[in-house]
């Protein structure tokens, strides 16, 4: 009898969740829009995303990455919405936050009757049911129920961890709680029912900023984008330098590893290979997210890699030949095209740090064409003070100022030493 009651309870709860999703969708579908980026040349959409209205003035929220083509080339694209009834209308870009992947777009011809989604006061409790809305693969608006799992651990760029399927095209759609209030914005998926959302506070912060609807004939968003990137780079570097770097042992060397709590590290070695002619132990650390600026341009990330090689069987001459090959094909952690950045310029020198570890150091940098004092730095070095063993160290730091890049490189080089 008890079992029966329990079973009934479970069934009715599931039915309630489904019912809520149904209600939500019918209630709020008027506030959902498909955001389309129209290529002025071909007059057809070049990319799509989702968006939702948050006030009666016709202000819509979407992802920055949905409108990134327009931000870089406002003269080549136009932003449009497609509403629930199949009606098209023009949108203007009101504001954006590239770091948190948010954009506000304004209906140019707003009819006051359109409805809006309210923003929640706070995030729900961990484990609550939440509902992601959007337009996946251009198939029409859908609702995906899922679970709120709190703010993702170990990340510099804060994201809500959502258990539910977010698919391409749902980017920019709202995520609401059971009361139908917005608690986040769809942004990315890690596959297998793991989704990421922009948390509520980032959205509130952007909405509370004064909205500057650019009325210029040829708006230029690069200065604003540059400001946001520089400010973020500053706080990113501050977070990296906040505490003394944690180091760990790799072979006979001491190397930095989890230098901040948002840097996660992994290790590997060939010790289990019976016929290996030398020992190779690796450590690799990286930040989990980068900032999406536009197609083929990501920034704001850090990766560090180390490899300890010990090859007493090879002898000096053969070891150094293999060692050279070991550092010959490295590349930067973020790819970028020559339209956005310059080619790398490199400095090669033999350097001995204060712990008397001798390295051949190669430091390379490239400048961002659209932004002042913003660089990617690529570093690779190999210790050269032993005959048949050595340490390869590498990092890529993207989207930082020259001063930060210099300071980071200096600290990185000084933090490596031989085990005493």
């Amino acid at each position: 009898m008890r079992l029966l009651v329990l079973g009934f309870l479970v069934l009715s709860l599931a039915a309630k969740a489904q019912g809520q999703a149904k209600d939500l969708f019918s209630h709020y579908r008027d506030t959902l829009y498909q955001i389309q980026i129209i290529d002025l040349e071909s007059k057809s959409k070049s990319s799509i995303g989702s968006g939702f209205q948050i006030n009666a003035n016709g202000l819509l929220v979407t992802n920055y990455h949905v409108v990134s083509d327009y931000v870089f080339h406002p003269d080549k694209y136009r932003i449009e919405y497609l509403d629930n009834q199949g009606k098209h209308g023009e949108l203007s870009l009101a504001n954006f936050d590239v770091i948190n992947d948010l954009a506000l777009v304004q209906k140019v011809d707003n009819d006051a009757i359109s409805s809006a989604l309210p923003l929640a006061q706070q995030l729900p409790e961990q484990g609550s049911n939440i509902y992601s809305l959007g337009n996946p693969h251009d198939l029409g608006m859908i609702v995906v129920p899922g679970t709120f799992n709190g703010i993702k651990a170990r990340s510099f760029y804060q994201r809500i961890h959502f258990t539910g399927a977010i698919n391409p095209g749902m980017s920019g759609g709202p995520v609401v709680n059971a009361q139908g209030e917005v608690i986040g914005v769809n942004v990315a998926t890690a596959g297998n029912q793991i989704g990421f959302l922009i948390p509520l506070d980032k959205l509130v912060a952007l909405v509370q900023q004064p909205q500057e609807v650019s009325s210029a004939k040829k708006p230029d968003y690069m200065p604003l984008l540059g400001q946001q990137l520089s400010a973020n780079a500053e706080s990113f570097m501050q977070a990296l330098f906040a505490q003394p770097w944690h180091t760990t042992q790799l072979g006979e060397a001491q190397i930095p590893d989890t230098i901040a709590d948002f840097v996660s590290c992994w290790g590997d070695s060939n010790a289990s290979e019976a016929d290996a002619r030398y020992l190779s132990v690796q450590s690799s650390c990286r930040t989990s997210e980068q900032i999406y600026l536009r197609n083929k341009l990501q920034t704001g990330g850090l990766e560090m890699e180390f490899e300890w090689i010990n090859a007493p069987k090879l002898g000096s001459a053969r070891f150094y030949r293999m060692y050279s090959k070991g550092i010959s094909n490295a590349g930067p952690g973020n790819k970028a095209t020559t339209e956005d950045v310059t080619d790398f310029s490199c400095q090669h020198e033999l350097v001995s740090n204060t712990s008397e570890l001798e390295n051949k150091v190669i430091l390379c940098t490239r400048a961002y064409r659209d932004f002042d004092d913003l660089y990617d730095v690529f570093f690779i070095a190999a210790s050269i003070d032993h005959d048949d063993k050595g340490l390869i160290s590498h990092f890529t730091l993207s989207g930082v100022s020259q001063a930060s890049a210099t300071e980071f490189s200096r600290q990185f080089m000084e933090s490596i030493q031989w085990q005493l």
Binding site: R277, Y278, K296, L314, S316, A317, R318, F319, Y320, R321, M322, Y323, S324, I327, S328, G331, P332, K335, T337, T338, E339, D340, V341, T342, D343, F344, S345, C346, Q347, H348, E349, L350, V351, S352, N353, T354, N359, K360, V361, I362, L363, C364, T365, R366, A367, Y368, R369, Y375, F378, I380, A382, I384, H386, D387, Q402, T406, S409, R410, M413, E414
Partner: protein
């Protein structure tokens, strides 16, 4: 002073050379002629040449197929160095030996005596062995797995065989010109050029590693290698082909420069990818070859300010 009769190939090359010191010279198929030709289209007494105080006249003795002077049927007339006669199927050049003085005798090139040194068989064999040893050493250095000589030998042997094509080619050219092949000096100078290339590349590697790769280095390396290649080509031609100095100079310069041109074109002509380029020198050398003393971290970071300037300069270049 005498009448010279040369029998020519179609391309102008001299096949036979006859000198007759008489005022009247007869040419034909009969055995009594001063110059007898076996061409079946020539008559028994075909042509008569007369030397009138240094000027030559010819006369066709009513032959069946006639005589052509410079391509036209001509039965009698004057003759000289610049005229070409055809009787039957045979091409002739007939002139007075006084008419064509030979060019002055060439002095030996100062190198001629020194080249004798390269002509020692033990030297050539010794150099061959040194190069083979270097090739084996390279195989050894590139091996990470256990090195075995038996595995390395076939590829070293193929490489050496391929390298031998150069001296053999020049030897063949020499033979085709009916001269001695002189393979010993050809091999000696070829191996010396190979060794020079190895020394140049090794030296530049040590400089590159210790001082960093300057932008002058690729140019300097190309310059040195071009000089070695030019010298090798020049000497090979000097040994195997007997040609005038200007001809030899211009052929070797032309070949080397066109090779260089093709190399440069292939380097700078290709399409580049859309992605920003990262080029650095990954060269690492063992501690024994570290000749310069390392700088400290602060100095390195100060020096690195230049790469930011370079990146900025590139950025401004595009903006303009």
């Amino acid at each position: 002073m005498a009448v010279v009769i040369e029998i020519l190939a179609r391309n102008g090359k001299v096949l036979e050379h006859h000198v007759v010191d008489k005022d009247v010279v007869s040419i034909g198929r009969g055995y009594h002629n001063d110059v007898r030709l076996t061409d079946p289209y020539i008559c028994e007494q075909h042509l008569r040449i007369e030397d009138t105080s240094g000027v030559l006249h010819f006369e066709d003795n009513s032959s069946v197929n006639g005589t052509l002077k410079n391509g036209r049927v001509t039965l009698r007339g004057e003759l000289g160095w610049s005229d070409k006669l055809i009787i039957g199927r045979t091409h002739l050049r007939i002139f007075h030996s006084r008419e064509k003085p030979v060019s002055p005798t060439l002095r030996f090139h100062p190198l001629e005596a020194k080249l004798a040194w390269f002509n020692q068989m033990p030297l050539a064999i010794g150099l061959t062995l040194v190069v083979a040893a270097l090739a084996i050493l390279r195989e050894y250095l590139d091996s990470i797995e256990k090195f075995s000589l038996a595995d390395a030998l076939p590829s070293v042997f193929m490489l050496m065989l391929l390298a031998c094509l150069w001296p053999l080619l020049f030897g063949l050219l020499s033979k085709l010109n009916k001269k001695e092949a002189r393979l010993t000096p050809l091999f000696s100078i070829f191996w010396i050029a190979v060794l020079l290339m190895v020394v140049i590349q090794f030296g530049l590697k040590v400089i590159n590693f210790n001082l960093g790769p300057g932008s002058w280095q690729p140019w300097f390396e190309t310059l040195l290698e071009t000089l070695v290649l030019f010298s090798l080509l020049w000497l090979s031609m000097f040994i195997s082909l007997q040609q005038s100095r200007t001809r030899r100079n211009s052929i070797s310069a032309g070949l080397v420069l066109s090779g260089l041109g093709i190399m440069l074109l292939s380097q700078y002509g290709g399409d580049r990818s859309d992605y920003s380029k990262l080029e650095y020198s990954p060269l690492l050398l063992p501690p024994v070859l570290q000749l310069s003393s390392p700088v400290n971290t602060d100095t390195f970071m100060q020096d690195a300010a230049t790469i930011f300037e370079q990146a900025n300069a590139q950025r401004e270049q595009r903006e303009r």
